[in-house]
Every structure is written in C-alpha cells, then in structure tokens.
C-alpha cells in the first residue's frame, strides 16, 4: 500500500485535477478509501478522513458535485477493527470525522442528490446487510437475528450486549436522518411533498426491516418523532429563491396558489400517515402494557412497569400528543377502524353445521382479515392514517389521560377488532404486531367490564358460531407464544371470563378442541384449567340483574389466575345452581378421550416437561371433579397413568408429584 502521506497528497491533487470531472474525482476517492480500508492502520484512516474533511470544507462547490457518492464511501470507514463499539461515541476519532464529513455534505452538497443518496442508503440499511459488510461470521448473524430481543423479553434490565451490526446500523441511521432532515430543508421546490414522501418512505422501509431486530427500538422512535415534530415545509425558507421564481414564471399566480394549497394538504397527509405507520411499525415486536395496566386498575393493584416500559410510555405519550397536534381525531379514526373491522366479518353466516362445512367456514374466518388487508394494499391509493397506528393511539389515550377513548365499546366490536388485528399474522409475519395485539386485548377487557354480563352474553350470542370459535382459538394460540408471564396470566383470565360469556356449547367445543389439537402443551393445560373452572363454578347470579361495574370487576377477580396464589374475593357473590358448563356423559367421554391420548404420548423418551405438567393438570382436573365424574372412566385413566409412567425417571420431582396425585385420585375413586 502507498504511504498515507502519498495517499493524502493524491487526494488533494484529485480535488484540483478533477474539479470539472466529478465522476473521476469520486472514483479516485473510492479507490483510495478501498485501499486504506483493506490494508490501512486506524491512524492512517483517521488522517485520510481528516484530509478529506478539509478538502470538502475548502471546496464546497466540488463537494456538491460528488455528494451523491460520498456518503457510501465515507460509511466504509465504519469497521469493527477501527471502532470499539463498547466505548462512548466521543472516543472514536473515526466516528467523529465521519459525522463531520456528513455535516459538510448535508450543508454544501446538492440537496436533491444528497437526499436521494441518503434515502437509498437508509432503505437498504439492515442488520443482515451490515453483518455482511462487516464480514461477520455466520454465528454473528445468528446472534443478531435470533438473540434475545430486549424489547420482546419482559425484563427489568438490559441483558443483551449490542452486536457490532446493531451498533453500526444505529449510528448510520442517526447520521442519515440528520442528512435527510437537513437536505430536505434546503431543496428549492414548489413541490415539497414529493421529497417529503421520498424521505418518509425510506424511513418507514428502514423501520420495517429493522424493528424486530434492533437492540432498542426507542432510539428509532425518538428519531421518527423528532423528524415529524421538526419538519418545516421548505416554502417558509426557500420558496422565494431564483430557481423557484424561474419555475413560477411559467405558472400563473392563481395556479401557484393552488399548488401551494395542495402541497400543504399533501404534506399534512404524509406526516399523519408517517407518524401513525411509523409508530405501529416500530412497536411490532414490543409488548403493549395497556391491558395489564387496566387489569391492575380493575383489581386496584399497582401495575409495576420496568424502566424500559416507563420510558416507552413517555415516548408513546409524545406520539399521542404529536397526533393531536397533527389534527388526528383519534376517537373518530378509532370508530372508523371499529366500523371497518366489523364490516370485514359481516358476511360470516350465523349458524353452520358441524364437520366439514364448519371447518371451511372457520378457515374463511381465519383468513378474512388477511385477505382484506391484501385487497386494501391493491385498491387503496390515497394517503391515510394507519389503522393499526390508530389502534395504538387509542390505548395511549388511556395511558395518558386515565380515561378510555371509547368506553361504550361493544364486546362484538372488541372481538371484531381483535380478529382483524391478530389473524393476518397467521399468514404473514408482516402483520405480526405484538403492541397492536396488546391493545386489542385491552379493548376486550374494556368491553367486558363496562357492561352487565346479561348484556354481554346477549351480544356474544348474536355472533356467528364459527367467528366465536376462531376468536377463542386465536386468543389461546397467541397467548401460548406470549413472552411476558404476567401478560400470559392476565390473558388466561380474560379467556376464562370470555368462556363464561359465550354459549355453553361453543365454550365446551372450544375447550375440548383445544385439548385435542392445541400444538402447545401449556395451551392444553390452560384449556383444562378453564374447563375445570367452568364445570365446577356455578354461574354468577348477577346474570339475572343489572350488575354494576364493581360486580363485574368482582367476577374478574374470582376468575383471576393469579401468578402468586389464589385471590380471595372481597365480597361474597350470589351464585346460581348451574355451572357454566354442565357435565354430561358425552362431555365426560370426550374429555376422557383427550386425557387418554395425552397420557399415551408420555410413554416416550422424547417427552417434554410441559407434557408431564399437562398430565398433572389432568390429574388435578379429575381430582377436582371426581365426585361428578364417571367412576369407570376415572379408574381407566388412573390405571393408564400408572402404566405409562412406571418406567419414567427423567424428572424425579415431576414424577413424584404425578405418582402422588395419581395415588390421591385412586383413593378418591375408592371412596366413591
């Protein structure tokens, strides 16, 4: 490699020699950079960047001509060998020089070129690409893509160390947002919306690609928020430039005024779309806590949020207030989302026969929302606020004000909303959004705690059977993959409450089908727990009267599957004679069949701990309902447990518990 002094001398000469030949100048800089980045020492790179910065500063007109190419070249100096990602940013001379170079480019470069380049780089910026360009190994790639995501895991502290790719993607994002923001203000145009749209599209693309993998999404949220709040239309600064006057010369004054008016409307629409779409995309992989927050309020207990969530609530609050300042009528928009969600499912037949027809209708219900979203993509041409962003804002309203945005929500609408928001994720990850799911659950809670049970039951009974089944299945399935233990428990309580409200036949069918085919053993355990509750607890008498909110809350407390033991209700509740699900011969046979099938599975060396826990739950279920159950069936089950688990010794604690429960069941059977 040439000496650094010689390279710098070449660089200085290139700026003089190729003053009128920007392509040659750009090529020269590229060659020098590549040479340095393959062989050079860190100190040489620093010297080179310093020289480049000096040349850009002293030749702004030349720099303007190569501003389309410089950003890519300068970013090449971000390498793991030259930058210690564990140090503070200020310690790295290279980072500081790169930022200074970008600052010069954004101030003296051709603004349109710079904007296009900035948007192009930002759109293609991803952890995956960054790993490739950093020359990371396959393992590093894996770490980035599948490592524990801070935002997803419900922890109170940061555990994960940032990967180099995450570090460089984040810092590049900062630099590019600055570049785009600055150059956007410098573009002389009477059509600013065109450039604003370009900028926001690239930012959204960046968020779409990276929201699930980035270490801390709050950084991106702050940048988006800052961009939206700080955006000033160029008309206020530069519309009276020579270039624009020249453009204007060809346009009549009246026409110009109309263009200006239309441009204002367009920019406002772009910003509304961007802040709502950006918000929901950022929060795709982050749990929302509004359901937990409301649940704790119902129980009059404190909702303890981790530092991460406290900070997130603050950022969300900013987005909520930003939406207000952008004149987004959150309530009107939310009502529109509810109406749209309900319209998706209006064609579902009320009653369908069992068997094949029923299954087909269920499949259709599963796919309706997804198909609707696809149709929307192809048909919708205007710029609208993002419906899922609006769903999030509806919960931020509650977190911000303590009041529900739409307390009158009907349970039917809450169910439509849940299905609409959640089911598309079964077909495409693009539609997976943990935050939106959380808010949909929050609205389910609101809907079932704001009306008396009798009203809720009536409303729910009007829904098509297939739709109800799909809804309950979806809620259970999604909960089985929930990371947060607290949210999982709260949602189990929600599911129990909802199972009490749906017609008995549908509730039993849902629970028995879950026992038969839920792919998660803990999902089966949950279904079993609910079934036990519904078969053993008598219906709350308040069904017959207008129960107040406090009584409804009491009911929720009764059903709460607490993480830390059982909760004692404050008041004694008057109950009916009839349980939510009656025990019949047919139902006993069905449950028995499921239980036997699961017991047979544990006679296998590949058995999982969760499979054994499921058998424990079955034993507890039968022990709890022993006095109402068929003796022969119980004997049969107990015998099968004994046979299948006799040789099992992988997990002695569980085995001991299993044997002890089975013995207890045996004793109860003998007493019958």
């Amino acid at each position: 490699m040439e000496s650094i002094d010689s390279l710098i001398s070449d660089l200085i000469n290139a700026f003089d020699e190729y003053e009128d030949d920007p392509i040659s100048l750009a090529a020269s800089i590229e060659m020098h950079s590549d040479q340095l980045n393959s062989d050079g020492k860190t100190s040489d790179k620093e010297k080179f960047l310093e020289a480049l910065l000096k040349e850009i500063k002293s030749h702004p007109q030349i720099a303007a001509k190569i501003s389309w190419d410089l950003p890519k070249e300068i970013f090449k100096f971000f390498t793991v060998t030259d930058i210690d990602i564990n140090q503070r940013l200020g310690y790295s001379v290279i980072i500081s020089l790169v930022m200074k170079c970008f600052n010069e480019i954004s101030l003296s470069g051709n603004p349109k070129d710079c904007l296009l380049t900035g948007c192009e780089i930002l759109s293609g910026l991803s952890l995956e690409n960054e790993n490739l360009s950093l020359g990371m190994t396959q393992d590093s790639n894996k770490k980035t893509s599948t490592g524990p995501q801070y935002a997803q895991v419900d922890t109170k502290k940061y555990y994960m160390e940032r990967t180099p790719a995450d570090f460089f993607v984040t810092i590049k994002m900062h630099i590019l947002f600055e570049l785009i923001g600055t150059t956007l203000k410098r573009i002389n145009t009477i059509y600013p919306s065109k450039y604003l749209r370009l900028a926001t599209s690239s930012m959204l693309q960046f968020v779409r690609v990276n929201s699930e993998g980035l270490y801390d999404i709050r950084i991106v949220m702050r940048r988006l928020y800052g961009f939206c709040r700080g955006y000033i239309s160029p008309e206020h600064d530069v519309i009276n430039t020579d270039e624009n006057i020249e453009q204007r010369g060809k346009i009549a004054q009246e026409e110009l005024e109309e263009i200006t008016r239309n441009e204002e409307v367009l920019q406002a629409k772009i910003l509304r779309n961007f802040c709502t779409a950006g918000l929901q995309t950022c929060l795709k992989a982050t749990n929302d806590k509004s359901d937990a927050y409301y649940y704790h309020k119902l129980l009059q207990t404190e909702c303890q949020l981790s530092a991460f969530y406290k900070d997130l609530v603050e950022i969300n609050s900013r987005f909520y207030n930003l939406a207000l300042s952008f004149d987004i009528d959150t309530k009107e928009e939310f009502l529109h989302v509810l109406e749209e969600s309900s319209s998706i499912y209006k064609g579902v037949p009320k009653v369908v026969g069992k068997g094949q027809n029923g299954d087909i209708i269920k499949q259709v219900v599963h796919k309706l929302s997804y198909s609707y979203e696809l149709q929307k993509i192809t048909k919708e041409k205007g710029l609208y606020v993002d419906p899922f962003g609006i769903v999030l804002l509806s919960a931020f309203h509650y977190m911000e004000t303590g009041n529900h945005l739409y307390p009158e929500i009907h349970v039917q609408d809450a169910i439509y909303l849940y299905l609409r928001c959640v089911t598309p994720s079964f077909y495409s990850d693009f539609y997976t959004n943990l935050s939106v799911e959380g808010v949909a659950r929050y609205w389910l809670w609101v809907s079932i705690t704001r009306s008396p049970s009798i009203t809720l039951k009536e409303e729910i009974s009007e829904l098509p059977e297939a739709l109800l089944s799909v809804f309950l299945e979806t809620l259970l399935l999604k909960n089985c993959t929930q990371n947060s233990e607290e949210t999982r428990m709260i949602t189990f309580t929600l599911l129990t409450r909802l199972s009490c409200l749906v017609p008995e036949e549908i509730a039993f069918e849902f629970l028995s089908e879950s026992l038969a085919s839920c792919p998660y053993p803990h999902g089966k355990s949950c279904a079993l727990g609910i079934l036990k509750d519904l078969m053993s607890k008598n219906q709350i008498h308040a069904d017959k009267a207008d129960d107040s909110l406090s009584q409804v809350t009491e009911q929720v407390m009764n059903l709460s599957i607490s993480v830390s033991g059982n909760r004692t209700p404050k008041n004694k509740t008057i109950t009916d004679e009839r349980p939510y699900i009656r025990i019949t011969d047919e139902r006993m046979t069905i449950v028995h069949r499921m239980a036997m099938a699961d017991v047979e599975k544990v006679n296998d060396s590949k058995v999982r701990r969760s499979d054994l826990i499921l058998i424990i739950n079955y034993l507890e279920y039968f022990i709890g309902l022993c006095h109402k159950w068929d003796k022969k069936l119980l004997l049969n089950f107990s015998h099968e447990v004994g046979v299948n688990l006799s040789g099992y010794s992988h997990d002695s604690d569980l085995q001991k518990k299993l044997l002890s429960l089975n013995k207890h069941l045996d004793e109860l059977i003998s007493e019958k």
Binding site: R318, L324, D327
Partner: protein
C-alpha cells in the same frame, strides 16, 4: 362583540378570568411550560410586557403539560417558578389542555381562527403564540421557535392602530 371577549378561562386560583376585561387591548397568548427548552422565552415575554403594558398590551400564559410533560407542577408551583426565575408579572392562568377532547375553549377558539404550519390547527409544542388585536381578532400565530422579541414589530403595529 368578538367571540374572543365571551371566553372566560380560569385564573391560577380557579376563579373566572373573563376576557371582557381585555376589550380594546392587544393580547398575546402563550402556552407555557417550566421545563422546556423554550422556557427562557419568559424573559423576553416579560420584557415585552413591561415595555408595552401601559400602551395596552396584555400577555397571558396558559401552562400546559401536554408536550413532553414539561409542566408537571401545580398552578401554585408554576406561578412561583415564573416569579422566582423570570420575574414574570403578566398573568399566568390555570393549567389547561390545548389539544384533544379536553382542550380549553380559549384554544378551541384561537386554533379555529388561525392555523399553524401546513394548515395544522393543533398546537405543536410549548410557547406557541397567538396575537389578538384590539377588536378581538386573532391576527397572527407564531411557532415556538419564534422569539418573543421578533414579534415586537407586529405588537407595535397593532398597538398603534
């Protein structure tokens, strides 16, 4: 009579502050916050107030906590903060919301009369300003970035009308 004079917000003690008392005055209304980067604007606002108070200028500060939760204190604490740190003598009224369903009628009126950048009616941040002439007409709206001192000419023009 202008609709502006029919408004009656509350002062920091929760008592009515009828705008009828502003008839014939030039009024500058500002949504203020104590913990904001723009909070030092209090100093320039106070200077303007002192300079033009006798000629008929009234400045009204409406504390608001909607932007970054930068006005968390009580009305009493806010009043004390303004007096102690910036020697504010112009009226600081009761804390209100300036956007959303619970916005104060004063801001509903002001925003309906004058939009901000890109036609947005919503208030974007702390220290946005509305200038009202002697007839109760909202004549100008200024962004947070606009320093009070740079409004001086507009105020003078209205005072001299």
């Amino acid at each position: 009579m202008s609709e502006f004079y029919k408004l009656t917000p509350k002062d920091k003690k929760g008592e009515d502050y009828p705008f009828t008392q502003l008839e014939g005055k030039v009024v500058l209304i500002v949504n203020v916050a104590s913990k904001c980067g723009f909070t030092p604007q209090y100093k320039e606002l106070e200077s303007l107030y002192k300079k033009y108070q006798d000629k008929g200028l009234v400045i009204l500060g409406f504390p608001c906590n909607q932007f970054g939760h930068q006005e968390p204190g009580t009305d009493e604490q806010i009043g004390q903060f303004c007096q102690l740190n910036y020697g504010v003598t112009f009226p600081i009224l009761k804390k209100i919301n300036v956007n959303g369903n619970d916005m104060d009628p004063v801001y509903e009126f002001l925003k309906s009369k004058k939009s901000g950048l890109l036609g947005f009616k919503g208030i974007k941040w702390n220290f946005e300003k509305f200038l009202i002439d002697r007839k109760g007409e909202v004549v100008q709206r200024y962004a947070s970035l606009t320093k009070p001192s740079s409004i001086e000419q507009d105020i003078e023009r209205l005072l001299n009308k």
